[in-house]
Amino acid sequence: MKVVVTGASGALARQVVQLLVNDGHEVLGLDRRPWPDCPERVQMFRVDMRKRPAEDVFRTYKPDALIHMATVTYVSAGSEERYRINLGGTRAVWEYCENYGVKHAIFVGRHTVYGAAADAPLYRNEDEPLMAGSTFPNLADLVAADLYAGNSIWRRPSVETAVLRLAYSLGPSKRGTLANYLRGPKVPTVMGFDPLFHFMHEADAALAIFTSLKSKLRGVFNVSGPPPVPLALLCRIAGCRSVPIPEPVFPAILGRFGFSRLPKGSLNHIKYPVVIDNQRFVEATGFKASFDEIQTLRAYRWP
């Protein structure tokens, strides 16, 4: 099968590409960033998703499937840029899929789109509304992209679409949203709150994405591995130094005294949990994570 992977140079995407190559697929990687030592069966195209050269890849190579991983977070891009890449890019690639006969498309999204709030249920299933637009405004573009891809299920019926809402991925690459949060010399937490964090090993995350393609999934699915872990315990096992900060002074402390810089709206996501129920995904694919929560944290700590 010929598979387009957008955002192929990303840490998680590289692992997905490797699984595809190992399984005998031909991979067309699209990314603005380079991947100099990519595997032999991978053709890399340094293109912007919304520009003509990207469309030309679809037009020329007529791929069978798409795995869309070219989304960015507040860590690497400003608001305007995020809307352009996340929403504009998603819209563009789904149009290419429809126009050039791609049969199956997978949108790799994030579980944080559900949003963290005091009165939200602990475990979210796919029927829960996406509240991150209000609980964490910096995620609004990802919510919009997730919903856009989800709408494609009925707007573009010729493309079998699956939307995956992945728990944080964590592992030896030390890349990703959660890894960024844990990276600083001191991890800021909100005093008196210890929310559950839901994450999975990056190898399991890659395997889940690959499995979605193999299972020809259609619909919206939460993807997670082991049970969630309280933040304080997470920091302890991952070898990070967590420092509880009283909520009133939290915004003033960020970006100073060795604490990482976090957007204002992130406070809710450090106070309250976002935990997902992956039952639907497990039933549809038979997926089982290989790493438990402790192994995952240790893999992050000692790659």
């Binding site: 005091a118 009165d119 249920p121 602990l122 475990y123 909100v190 005093m191 008196g192 709150f193 210890d194 929310p195 559950l196 049970p227 969630p228 872990v229 309280p230 315990l233 096992i237 909520e247 309250y272 949990p273 438990d292 929560e293 402790i294």
Partner: protein, 269 residues
């Protein structure tokens, strides 16, 4: 870190509790063995020495599988829920863990929020109740809600209106209901009036004031009377009339158990 605060008996009973802890003592919904141990150690003092609680009918609690324990609120301090937890931990063999449902505002309060999470007391949402029951856990609910703890001493043991949500969940999840009555709590903390301004200031629904003014309960004997499991037919989609009828049956049974309990305490007022 907190292990030294856990009593030996509690440590032993925690080992046979029906929870699946990982290597670091946490279960899949975030309950911490250590936090639970400290909490049970504290409850043990109130359960055994302070209120000297006598549980009756513990054999009605299923040894395994799901059940909903439905009872009355007794007294203006919600010690009743803690004492039910303690009775299932200290006097049931093997012990069973029971989830309670807390008010939404509790999740916004620092420390209280994380402690409730670590001891498995979740916000009172139907989604939580259904998940815990489908996971074959025990769940405790007080259908009188906040209205129940807002009763003054002059209205003691008068059941206020019951919410009906618990019944629809029980039917939807095919869960037996174990009714129970908690008695003695009204005398342990006799609320004479509510300090409304103080309640508003602190952000709680009520601030009950007893005749002796201090916000502490008296060391008065309490009893918990558990009744036989009640089974109802349906799938939770029944009309309000049907549900109201079922809820009335549970309410009546709890009223009978309250009468039994009060007679056993020698309270005939």
């Amino acid at each position: 870190m907190l292990n030294h605060l856990i009593h030996d008996e509690v440590q032993t009973r925690l080992d046979s509790l029906d929870l699946d802890f990982n290597a670091y003592g946490h279960d899949p919904v975030g309950i911490s063995r250590e936090h639970l141990g400290v909490f049970y150690s504290m409850l043990g003092f109130f359960y055994k020495q302070y209120f000297k609680v006598t549980p009756v009918g513990l054999d009605h609690i299923p040894p395994t599988g799901r059940a909903m324990l439905i009872g009355n609120h007794s007294g203006s301090l919600p010690a009743d829920g803690g004492m039910v937890m303690a009775s299932l931990f200290f006097d049931l063999n093997p012990p069973r863990y029971i989830h309670g449902m807390v008010e939404k505002f509790a999740q916004t309060i620092p420390f209280l929020s994380s402690w409730f999470s670590r001891i498995g007391q979740f916000t009172g949402l139907p989604e939580h109740a259904v998940r815990m029951l489908k996971d074959e856990r025990l769940l405790m609910a007080f259908p009188e809600g906040v209205r129940g703890i807002g009763k003054l001493y002059k209205d003691k043991y008068k059941l206020v209106r019951f919410g009906t949500g618990f019944m629809r969940i029980a039917l939807k999840t095919q869960t037996p209901i174990v009714p129970f009555a908690y008695v003695g709590g009204e005398e342990a903390f006799p609320a004479m009036f509510h300090a409304k301004s103080l309640a508003k200031l602190v952000g709680v629904p009520y601030w009950p004031v007893p005749p002796y003014l201090l916000p502490v309960p008296l060391p008065i004997r309490c009893r918990i009377h558990y009744g036989e499991p009640m089974f109802f037919e349906g799938d939770g989609t029944e009309s309000d009339v049907v549900i109201d009828g079922y809820v009335k049956d549970v309410r009546s049974r709890i009223a009978e158990l309250i009468t039994e309990g009060r007679q056993a305490l020698g309270d005939t007022t």
